[in-house]
């Protein structure tokens, strides 16, 4: 889905409805709990296991909230907004790094980029050494075979 096709209003409404349902489901469940051990007259009604009810309340909240949030993060609206944030933060970082790089260059101090280029050259040398070592090994094996003959 392209950014232009997203109906933002509808998406926000949809998420609000799911979120509202998740909270009201959890609250409904909480309201239906039995009396907490006694009525207003002080007579005992039934044992109230508060822990079990907190757990059930939590489970209801967890289930409905995960459904709502997963639906949200899987929406083109979320993906598009997240993309915009990443894009802007990338631009900001690039500009900042360029300013720092120029500043260091003016002061004749090697930048991180300069050090990275040196390390990269060392890596390339290591690859060449590995290739040469393999070639020497192969030559040794070939020589051994030849001398046996």
């Amino acid at each position: 889905m392209s950014k232009e096709n997203i109906n933002y209003e509808e998406y926000y409404k949809g998420f609000y409805k799911i979120w509202e349902r998740s909270i009201s489901d959890a609250l409904e469940m909480w309201k239906k709990r039995p009396s907490q051990g006694g009525n207003e007259a002080g007579e005992k009604t039934q044992d109230f296991d508060s822990v079990t009810y907190y757990k059930k309340f939590y489970e209801t909240w967890e289930k409905t909230t995960s459904e709502a949030l997963e639906k949200w993060v899987n929406s083109p609206l979320f993906a598009s907004n997240m993309g915009k944030i990443i894009e802007k933060s990338s631009e900001l970082k690039k500009n900042f790094d360029e300013v720092v790089e120029k500043g260091l260059k003016n002061m004749n101090i090697p930048s991180k980029g300069d050090i990275d280029r040196i390390l990269n050259s060392i890596n390339k040398i290591e690859e060449k050494i590995n290739d040469l070592t393999d070639m020497v090994d192969e030559l040794k094996i070939a020589n051994k075979k030849r001398s046996r003959k």
């Binding site: 907490q36 508060s50 967890e62 995960s66 993060v73 993906a79 993309g83 990275d116 990269n120 590995n130």
Partner: protein, 357 residues
Amino acid sequence: MSINYLNSMIQEAEKIKHKLSKAIDMTVVNPPDVKVGMTPHEVVFTENKLRLLHYHPTQKNTHPVPLIMIFALINRPYILDLKPGRSVVEVLIDKGIDLYLIDWGVPGDEDKDLNLDHYINRYIHKVVEKVKKISGANQVSILGYCMGGTMSAMYTSLYQEEVKNLILMTTGIDFKVEGTLNLWGDKPNFDVDKFVDAYGNVPPEFLQSSFLFMKPVQNMVSKYVNFYENIDNVNFVENFMAMEKWLNDNIPVAGEVFREFVKYCYQENLLVENRLRIDGKLVDLKEIKCSVLNLIAEHDHLTPPKSSTIFNKLISSEDNETIIYPSGHIGLSVSSRSLRDLWPRVADWLIKRSKSN
């Protein structure tokens, strides 16, 4: 409010106090030294940050075709050897498989230009050559996990003569099926050029937060509630701590390979469209003719099963099989059930095809 009710509340408060202080002690004050990747091995080859591990065999005789495990460039490979008793590596070597694993290491800023060409034509190919030389085998078997599986499929297509058996595990091939990462990584939503140009390598925090946001309640709430509930279960806590160590042990990804992977796979789906070229050579999945086992996690939220199932239809291998296992992306390698049921089956599949070389 009855006395009984008050008493039960006080007892519950005592339990909560005990559990919370234990949780704080274990996670903040005295966190245990979690040892991972403990199966004995030696490093037989290094290049740049890459290390090739060779596991010491536990059986007198090993099968003639060695197996190389290729992990994703994201996260560490020790998830395959998390801890004794919870290790794919252990299962495989106990079955007599001659086992190697590529540890990609942690890319530095100087590695930001490493691309798919370098990873496949240089690193993987070099490792295959090394393993052949050490083992004396003419061909190898490859097991690729997640992104490592996609790269393994690319390698096998380009170097079919080197690969006797290919096992893919939760591997994305078709990136246009419905899935969270497929949506987030798609072209209109993610400008990968701007991102890589600015950051160089992909920061580990970026990947970590992306994965957390895929299932926000599960990853940021439920997991810790579950930990709290099971804090007196020593076995649970040990496994939890090992998993947490792995989940938080994120590493950067070399910028260029990330750019290419996102563009070629997530945005242009070139592998499925048979248009992917690496160093000018077409990566044609039809070139894959070896025995193939495709392992798919039924509840995988990172690689949707449909993204993997297509693979067997795109290759030429007559001997190909798919196993859809009821687990998640990570559960496939660490759950006690998969280690008990699935991996011995995978080992047997491989052994049957590793007789002669």
